[in-house]
């Protein structure tokens, strides 16, 4: 079952077409990485899902209900963490969560229980300082707590890790990983290592369109292009190796960087055999031969080319 379905969504600001006929869906229980360059339309899409922006065309459905701009009932399914969450600085984290809970219409007891549980989860329990004194990482964590307060079916996080230091990033990712299974998460970012760490589904946004989407494994498999890195002990060895006719005849692309060579091919096994037999023939002992895993970064750079 899909928690979120977007069909033929378009949005333009004046003449500027930001989202162009976008369609994709997010299955229940997944952590969906929404990847795109800065300004590719990630935040715009999220705001339309929340009913904060009016789409120019197309439909959005959350849990089978259509999103309407302005008065949005669908927001009861959604928890939202904005890219830079802003709170009332004169309140404490505890008071802010109480305010959120009361607005959502939770019972007093639920609010109390959830507050204690969530502040513990994000590590802000025993903090009685006003939000105005919080660091960015603390605000981001409070943001997750308020987004999870009403146990939403869908958690939307807009670049939750982009402005944080490595420790802050790890904390946020760990919290997101703990809600896996209970809540579906959409997580926009341009930090690909974060996506690789926790997402199981991804969608790549480019020029207002989803140009690639699916599960992480599927995508990696589909775009599988094996590459092999060889490090030589000196440049002389490298050149001798590259000039060998068998290597020149290999159907592959080659990149060289001083004493390292990266060879790419669709047929890994055959390539490896030829590389090794060639090395024995030329009497070259390499420092290292390594089969490289396909990374999301290479994939991203390839599809947005």
């Amino acid at each position: 079952m899909n928690i979120l379905t977007i069909e033929n969504l378009s949005k333009s600001f004046g003449d500027n077409l930001v989202i162009d006929q976008m369609s994709f869906s997010v299955p229940k229980g997944s952590i969906f990485g929404f990847i795109g360059k800065n300004g590719s339309g990630k935040t715009t899409t999220m705001k339309m899902i929340l009913g904060l922006l009016k789409p120019s065309r197309g439909t959005i459905e959350v849990c089978g209900e259509r999103v309407k701009y302005g008065q949005t009932d669908t927001n009861r399914f959604i928890g939202y963490l904005p890219d830079v969450p802003e709170f009332y600085n004169y309140m404490t984290a505890y008071e802010y969560l109480k305010l959120c809970g009361e607005i959502t219409g939770l019972s007093k007891k639920t609010i109390k229980d959830r507050r204690i549980e969530l502040l513990g989860l994000v590590g802000l329990d025993h903090n009685n300082k006003r939000i105005g004194t919080f660091s960015r990482g603390m605000k981001q964590r409070l943001g997750i707590a308020q987004a999870l307060l009403h146990e939403p079916k869908l958690l939307i996080c807009d670049e939750p890790t982009s402005a944080l230091d490595p420790i802050g990033r790890k904390e946020i990712l760990d919290i997101l990983a703990t809600v896996r299974g209970k809540t579906t998460v959409i997580f926009s970012t341009h930090i690909l290592s974060d996506v690789e760490r926790i997402c199981d589904h991804i969608g790549i946004l480019h020029h207002g369109k989803i140009i690639l989407s699916g599960t992480m494994q599927e995508i990696k498999k589909y775009y599988h292009q094996d590459s092999c890195l060889i490090e030589f002990s000196n440049i002389h060895d490298r050149d001798r190796f590259l000039q060998a006719t068998t290597i020149e005849n290999l159907e592959s692309s080659t990149t060289t960087d001083r004493i390292c060579v990266i060879l790419k091919s669709q047929a890994l096994k055959r390539m490896m055999q030829e590389i090794m037999s060639e090395m024995i023939r030329l009497d070259i002992v390499p420092v290292k031969i390594e089969i490289l895993d396909p990374t999301l970064e290479n994939l991203f750079l390839e599809v947005v080319k």
Binding site: L52, G70, Y80, Y88, Y90, L99, E102
Partner: protein, 254 residues
């Protein structure tokens, strides 16, 4: 109903913790004391500033002078401070983006407007009537036995005029993302009221009369029934302002 109470409470906490209520209330208390004292001691003060040999004849101060000070100070200083304090009602929330969380949590948009109006009107009510009470007690003390006419009506008129300015400010603040926008909008509204004074016909309906005919009411030069039309216009402006603020905010991208 619950979101309305919750959000109004949040507004009141905000005015309290950001010292806005403190500033407003202190100024109105100070004005409350100043009104009768200035009226009482003005002749003596003026006398002490006069060069020797020159004498001025001033009539002895009366309770009417004290109330004249009240209406002058509240319209010129009190309302001015109140407008500045309330000017960021909506725009500050836009600027900081703090409403996004509230709206996505399911807070109805019209509740935001109604709560903002309620909280600011409550503050205005408390400050205004405290100021009134202090002036009233001291005036009775200094000028025992002296009475003025239509005191309740006259002060109520100015009170309503204040609420009208708050409601107009609410539209301005909802329209603009910058707090100066709301301020200029309200100033523009007041400027129009002053311009309307030029035409006798329209001036009969001008709500500005509620704020500048008060002394004439107290001294008996004007009967309250003459201000029926301005009163009607004032109440209409309040209601229309709240409705239009709600409609504007419904369409606003936050």
């Amino acid at each position: 109903m619950r979101p309305y109470i919750v959000f109004t409470k949040k507004e009141l906490i905000e005015y309290g913790r950001t010292y806005k209520f403190f500033i407003l209330f202190t100024i109105f208390i100070a004005l409350g004391f100043m009104n009768p004292l200035t009226a009482k001691f003005m002749p003596k003060i003026l006398e002490s500033f006069m060069p020797e040999g020159i004498e001025i004849q001033l009539p002895p101060p009366s309770s009417l002078d004290s109330w004249a000070q009240f209406f002058k100070n509240v319209t010129q200083t009190g309302l001015f401070v109140a407008i500045i304090i309330f000017s960021g009602m909506m725009s500050r929330e836009y600027e900081k983006g703090t409403l996004v969380n509230m709206i996505t949590k399911g807070l109805p948009r019209q509740t935001v407007i109604l709560s903002k109006f309620t909280a600011s009107t409550l503050l205005w009510t408390l400050s205004y009537w405290t100021c009134f009470l202090i002036t009233h007690i001291y005036t009775m003390y200094f000028w025992k036995g002296e009475t003025v006419l239509e005191l309740a009506t006259s002060t109520l008129f100015l009170y309503l005029f204040g609420i009208m300015l708050i409601s107009v400010l609410l539209i301005g603040s909802t329209l603009f993302k910058n707090s100066y926008g709301g301020l200029l909008f309200t100033e523009g509204f007041i400027a129009i009221l002053f311009l309307l004074k030029l035409s006798h016909k329209i001036d009969n309906y001008n709500p500005l009369q509620l704020a500048n005919q008060n002394i004439n009411l107290l001294s008996g030069n004007l009967h309250p029934s003459k201000l029926k039309s301005p009163l009607f216009v004032c109440c209409t402006v309040i209601i229309l302002s709240i409705i239009s603020s709600i409609l504007i905010f419904d369409k606003k991208q936050i």
